[in-house]
């Protein structure tokens, strides 16, 4: 994850309290989704950014996960994400996100 974005995530977690934060991802691939999710829960796996060795354990979801889709207005979701549902491998993204959450999410 971009170093500036890591810094912002860390600052917002301090400012609002990690329990009040939800990180939403839009990565195209499951591997990239997993890396971003790992960064905001277990720390930066590339050991480059401000979240290196910082276990925020934030709640993190991908926009294509069914529990998120269920909360969003259906028309807006279709307009913004509908086409990408046909493009992304949603099953593998969901599996990756569930794995990271069950292992590292604290909230």
């Amino acid at each position: 994850m971009d170093l500036e974005n890591q810094k912002r995530v860390k600052d917002f977690a301090d400012q609002y309290g990690p329990e009040n934060i939800v990180v939403m991802l839009g990565a195209a691939e499951s591997e990239a989704s997993g890396l971003a999710a790992e960064t905001v829960t277990a720390g930066d796996p590339t050991f480059a950014g401000p979240l290196t060795n910082v276990q925020l354990g934030l709640k993190v979801y991908h926009i294509c996960e069914p529990e998120i889709k269920a909360e969003v207005n259906a028309d807006v979701y279709d307009e913004q994400v509908g086409m990408m549902e046909m493009v992304m491998d949603i099953d593998s993204i969901c599996e990756e996100m569930n794995n990271i959450r069950s292992e590292y999410c604290k909230y």
Binding site: F12, V22, A28, I68, Q80, M84
Partner: protein, 43 residues
């Protein structure tokens, strides 16, 4: 229990996946308070 309603949401979109502003449009309808929205570019 709702995941997004009333929560402070940080968005990390992907230019070649779902970009930040598109995610923002979605989560706002679920009552989320978007505090940061960025889009990453891997290429």
């Amino acid at each position: 229990m709702s995941i997004l309603n009333g929560k402070k949401v940080i968005i990390i979109g992907d230019r070649d996946g779902v970009p930040g502003p598109a995610i923002e449009e979605c989560v706002k309808t679920a009552g989320a308070d978007v505090v940061y929205s960025a889009t990453e570019c891997f290429v």
